[in-house]
């Protein structure tokens, strides 16, 4: 084991995979400069710079994957997937079904996501629930270095399209890039345990669709992903002071969902709160309510989500994104 940052973990896993498997390559805007170490080691043929043409290169990656390669395509921020949505809506997600199960596309779309550093509503979205609405694609959101590497490994090995989302408050390179810019005058609420952590010397896959019980508890289940998990941890330790014992589930993948373990936890606690940095309506928080309800579980329920366009103003932004105070408030409301 060694201690790496989230960004380093992702990079080291990618490097390992690229060394192991020549069919793995990366493609995207600015990847040669942004992934300088990978470029230096693997050369331009495997680190392909693209024009700002997301629709074309995300689509191309699908065909490349169909022909036996394993592209890891960077779309920078998940917000930018809007110009390329057709490629996951009508192409990557449907190919396997359309072909009668005879052809598949093992493509990984890697995007930074999430807010909390003052970049405004077109650069801080999460959108994992939006992506996951479309059948045929997986959506992965790691919350710490070891998960990031292990899940990326599994994503690259997966035989179908996977979105791999890296929260900018965890991925130091992105935060430095988009938020800090070399300044010592700004500070962000970076979860230490998410941005840094022990990782194995050699990466092995963490299977998609397996949640992680971050903390055991008996009064309420807090379900989240990415940075939200760390907000839950902070909330949970404060709730302990008022004798509320919270269990925390880190979903790790939004699609597929680890239904079994969600049910098990909420059966135990009887109460659940979804902490979701993606938009509230028609998303993850609802899906979990539906799963619980259709499995005839009795549960108290609350959700702490992003309910509107993320405002630029830093205070409003912090209020809009799920935060510890809102989680605590909601827990108290729900368990009382």
């Amino acid at each position: 084991m060694k201690k790496l940052s989230f960004a380093e973990a992702v990079e080291s896993c990618l490097m390992q995979k690229m060394a192991e498997d020549h069919s793995v390559f990366i493609m995207g805007e600015d990847v040669q400069m942004m992934r300088l170490n990978i470029l230096a080691r693997f050369g331009k043929n495997r680190v392909i710079n693209t024009p700002i043409s997301e629709a074309a290169f995300t689509g191309a990656a699908i065909a490349a994957a169909m022909s036996g390669l394993r592209p890891v395509v960077e779309v920078m921020l998940v917000d930018f997937i809007g110009v390329a949505a057709d490629s996951f809506l009508n192409n990557a997600s449907k190919l396997f079904d359309f072909s009668g199960g005879k052809w598949n596309a093992p493509v990984v779309y890697r995007c930074a996501c999430g807010g909390g550093y003052g970049d405004g509503g077109q650069h801080e979205q999460s959108l994992w629930g939006w992506l996951a609405h479309i059948p045929g694609i997986s959506v992965v959101v790691p919350s710490n270095p070891i998960d990031a590497g292990g899940l990326l490994y599994a994503a690259i090995e997966h035989d179908h399209p996977v979105f791999f989302l890296e929260h900018k408050l965890l991925a130091q390179n992105w935060l430095e890039y988009m938020g800090i810019g070399g300044r010592s005058t700004v500070q962000f609420d970076v979860p230490e345990d998410g941005a840094w952590g022990e990782v194995p010397k050699k990466w092995t896959p963490i299977p998609l669709g397996k949640l992680n019980v971050v903390r055991e508890g008996k009064d309420i289940t807090l379900i989240s992903v990415g940075v939200g998990v760390h907000r839950c941890v902070e909330a949970a330790s404060k709730l302990e002071e008022v004798s509320i014992s919270a269990e925390i589930l880190d979903l790790r993948s939004i699609s597929p969902l680890d239904i079994e373990n969600i049910l098990q936890s909420v059966r135990k606690t009887g109460a659940v709160i979804i902490v979701d940095e993606d938009y509230k309506e028609f998303g993850l928080s609802g899906e979990i309510a539906a799963i619980l309800a259709e499995n005839q579980i009795e549960f108290k329920y609350g959700r702490v989500c992003t309910e509107k366009t993320i405002p630029f103003n830093r205070e409003s932004e912090d209020e809009t994104l799920p935060n510890v105070a809102r989680i605590i408030h909601m827990v108290k409301k729900v368990v009382s």
Binding site: A56, S67, D86
Partner: protein, 352 residues
């Protein structure tokens, strides 16, 4: 030398005609099944595009990829995909090419590196992805993107023009131009000249008469050789017609084939609208009607036999003394057989 060439040509072009003719006959079965209601949904035919498809297929090698748009029948049939599995796919049968899951707009053959898509413009990026893969693997294969002149205004296709050019990827872009996108005359919504547009992205190209199988074969052959040599994209702007209109049941085409009934209905309803109280100025209204009638009549052009690539090919071959009749006869029998076998399978109750 010249003579010998000619001889080879006749034998070769007879084969090409055979391919085109077989495809046409095959599509006639498709039409029949569609009209009978055995095939559901939309059905876009390749009828009128045969010279282009045959020219591409005859110039490709194993491993080359083709990204096909919504007019997949001819390219898939001509490439040699089992015609019964195609028909079964159109019908939605479990033994179809894609187990009946895709239908005619979503045909896939992994073995042949062939894909299709019902989303206009999607073929550009798909072909680019195959080309990228060829280059990555360092082989000499190419990829073909098929699309209509309407698709050439779709952003993702335009993006792939640029990207294949800048990254030097071996893609043959084939624009099949019938100047219609459903009911829109494409030149009324398209700026500039298509060859210039390709050139503006740094892609060499040429305009060809896609109704003429000789010209198509030789120019597309040249294009493909050039791509294999340079590794760069090439643009073919090929004129064509759609003798069945946008899709089967196309009202513009029906208009010309039936005896005025549809037109009568239409004019009745239009006249009502024209004389509604509020609306455009009287002059504008008259102009609108003229505009509509002009659109309607101009689609008729596609039905003339003088623009049928098969008629053109047949004439040339006959002039050269080729035995076209026996070619056709053999094909008729083959296609007949395909239909029979397909019907047997369906009636065998094997449906999904």
């Amino acid at each position: 030398m010249k003579k010998k060439d000619k001889k080879i040509d006749i034998a070769f072009y007879s084969k090409m005609y055979q391919l085109m003719y077989r495809s046409r006959k095959f599509e006639e079965i498709v039409m029949q099944l569609w009209h009978e209601g055995t095939i559901f949904g939309e059905m876009h035919m390749s009828v009128g595009e045969e010279a282009i498809h045959a020219s591409i297929i005859k110039n490709l090698e194993d491993g080359d990829a083709i990204a096909v748009d919504h007019r997949g029948t001819a390219p898939f049939f001509m490439r040699g995909i089992d015609p019964i599995s195609l028909l079964l796919e159109f019908i939605g049968h479990k033994d179809g090419l894609c187990s009946g899951q895709g239908g005619h707009m979503h045909l896939f053959s992994r073995e042949h590196n062939m894909t299709s898509s019902g989303i206009v413009g999607a073929t550009g990026s798909t072909a680019m992805g195959f080309a990228l893969s060829h280059k990555y693997k360092n082989n000499k294969n190419i990829a073909v993107a098929l699309f209509g002149e309407g698709a050439i205004n779709q952003g993702m296709l335009l993006e792939s023009f640029n990207m294949t050019s800048a990254l030097e990827l071996p893609v043959l872009f084939v624009c099949k131009d019938n100047n219609w996108a459903i009911t829109t005359q494409s030149d009324s919504v398209t700026g500039g000249v298509l060859l210039d547009r390709a050139q503006g992205f740094g892609i060499a190209g040429e305009k060809i008469n896609g109704l003429d199988f000789q010209e198509s074969f030789s120019r597309i052959g040249y294009a493909i050789k050039t791509i294999r040599k340079t590794g760069k994209p090439y643009f073919i702007h090929a004129t064509c017609v759609h003798r069945e209109g946008h899709f089967l049941g196309d009202q513009l085409i029906a208009l010309h084939r039936t005896t005025g009934k549809i037109l009568g209905d239409l004019v009745g309803s239009l006249t009502k609208s024209l004389f509604k109280l509020k609306g455009g100025l009287v002059g504008e209204r008259g102009e609108s009607l003229g505009h509509i009638l002009k659109i309607m009549t101009s689609s008729k052009h596609q039905l003339k036999s003088s623009v049928d690539p098969l008629v053109i090919a047949k004439k040339m071959l006959k002039n050269q003394g080729a035995d076209v009749l026996s070619v056709e006869k053999k094909a008729d029998q083959e296609i007949d057989q395909i239909l029979k076998q397909t019907l047997q399978i369906i009636q065998g109750g094997n449906q999904l």
